[in-house]
Symmetry: C2
Subunit: 440 residues, 2 copies
Amino acid sequence: MEKSPQWEKLVLGGLVLTMEEDSEPIADGAIAIEKGKIAAVGPASDLLEKAPTCEVLDASHCIVMPGLVNTHSHLAMSLLRGLADDLPLKTWLEEHIWPAEAKVMNRETVALGTRLAAAEQLLAGVSTTTDMYFFADAVCEALVEAGLRGVIAESLIDASTPRCAGPDEMLEKQRELCLDWKDHPLITPSIAAHAPYTVGAPNLVREAEIAEEFGLPLQIHVAETRWEVETSLEKHKLTPVAYLESIGFLSDHIVAAHCVHLSPEDIEILAENKVGVSHNPVSNLKLASGLSPVEQMRAAGVRVGLGTDGAASNNTLDLLRDLQIATLLHKGTSGDPTALPARAVLEMATRVGADILGLGERIGRLKVGFDADIACFALNSAHSTPVYDPYSHMAFAARASDIRHTIVGGKIVVRDGELQTMDLEELLARSREVAAKIRG
Amino acid sequence: MEKSPQWEKLVLGGLVLTMEEDSEPIADGAIAIEKGKIAAVGPASDLLEKAPTCEVLDASHCIVMPGLVNTHSHLAMSLLRGLADDLPLKTWLEEHIWPAEAKVMNRETVALGTRLAAAEQLLAGVSTTTDMYFFADAVCEALVEAGLRGVIAESLIDASTPRCAGPDEMLEKQRELCLDWKDHPLITPSIAAHAPYTVGAPNLVREAEIAEEFGLPLQIHVAETRWEVETSLEKHKLTPVAYLESIGFLSDHIVAAHCVHLSPEDIEILAENKVGVSHNPVSNLKLASGLSPVEQMRAAGVRVGLGTDGAASNNTLDLLRDLQIATLLHKGTSGDPTALPARAVLEMATRVGADILGLGERIGRLKVGFDADIACFALNSAHSTPVYDPYSHMAFAARASDIRHTIVGGKIVVRDGELQTMDLEELLARSREVAAKIRG
């Protein structure tokens, strides 16, 4: 008798979108999981026959797809969600966000805010997040507890911070983080610079060297505002992108967040250097930063993923909302209703996002051998009836709240809409206490 | 002993936003309901003392506000949700939407699609919808069954339709609808013209006369596309707005949907004639129609409400999403982060929307004597923690799925997130059957 496969779990039923290039949806599909990896993808009937006894997770009446990949965020800022809105960036930052951070942010509150952000994202079908903030080791521990995959960095600026006396100490911490976490199954340690205008060329170059040495992502904010570009032109006679290229900073390790104000030459530089870009439509709209030339970047071959930015400037970590607003925004502002179509924007939120984080051969697609990071969005509601095309449904009608199951590395972290890894009530109560301190 | 008030229900607890001008949120508030109307609004402790025994609806940990008002939609098109996306308007309409309508839309399917649209909206905190489609009497009956307030019209075009041999018959039907439904507590009958380019001046004027005679709203699409403006300039040497004024069509009865392509003179005309405008940001983005000058209209004193348009061009009837995208969009495209702030966009979705539908003294605010149309959005989730400002929370972070209770005319139509008036499962199953016919 043929030996039955050693599958541990079968995600069974539903319309499976593998997000492989040119793939067709699999109606009534299934995904087999073994040791945290995808062991098989195919029609439910085929897989059930091969493993009639393994644990089954019901995904009938769901769209089953790779978990979403959030390529830019500041997780602990979830505690500052909605603290100050409808304000100019400078007022927002200097009079509200920075004072609040100075008042409450420490290792413990960063861990708390990160857990809150992890809960929010897992409950919205996000299986991989990024972070650039402080206390990265505490962030990594919080994500492991939550069961959310993370690409985690501590931001360098050429100044002292709540965390470090100065940049030398921070660079040392960045190297330590890479050493400590480089083999963890859930965590990809990463390096981060705040921005080209807050970190000088010498330290930017040192960071690029660490990224190269470890083969890990290097996150940075680039060309977010018109002010940044003007300042760079004044100081360096170069745009931020051209300046970063001139000092040898750019490579395929770079995850450049925002990239709003780009010249055609900047776009060429990003393409030539294989830089990954994180498009953050909601944050860019809310802070009135501007409109990123996403279609022009894509046409030039730049890899563009999607990010929420922090909850203080979004005000959620609902990547599905960013995804939907991205397709709407680029149609509306270009005058072309075929711009950034449904499937393209879903690719940005899955396989392309994974790719720019250096995880393109591990996550972002439902493929045998990949980590089992899976999101099941339910279709049993009025707003999701009928569905003529599953890509269009996700891009224009689905909601984060439709999430039924989120699986990360083969572990069911959200089951039937309920978070399995943390006590949500306790988390909310403690988060409200921190907010009360900020208010008070 | 003092007689206890004859209140039937008490919506108890939560943070109450009355949406009255200059009002402050009422923490731990309550709303008393008597005979479908709001009988009192105030602190929970005060109201409980006056009516210790009436039925209590728990709204603790909620934001309690007026139900949302959707000022433009085509309800039965919910059956065509996502049928054809990422397409130019002409292809979308002529090759997909019209053939599908011809194939399946009849009195029965319009009623079904309307019930689906009503379920979706009630479950998203919308308590008043509009409609301009066919079989308006069937639409009214469906909304009464669902318990959703409606401003309902049947669209006139100068041609035969699935419904009528020609415009004379339709004008007669419009008058009948007004007579039949004018005293119904939930339904406001209304008149509609498709657009200035599909209805000639004589029939537009006849409609304006019916609106004047009955004192009821007159819905019309205006200046939705650049093509429409160019065609109007060629044919009439006037913009659509100027043309409509020139024939005496404009008044405070008019609900002009879209108003995307407006000149400064158009905006003056809309203001002078007290025309109500329905801003439809998601539809305008998705079909790449353009960006409506909402802030310029508001500055000129034009009353601007919010609408979803039909689910075929949105692809939901989630007015909260339109509200959130409206504030984001107008900040992002104006470069001004203070544009269309949270409270303003919430007013558009409540009191202003009610006002342009001629219901400004009945709904859209939580005020004694007003119809009890109330939405309670829960705050017990990760994405809604913490809340520093309730207006900002609704404008930037809340989700339709946060709805806990929706009350229309004093009747609890959604309780604890569950629709009370219709069998949702049966509704979804029947809607899927119609979709299968369209596909097949």
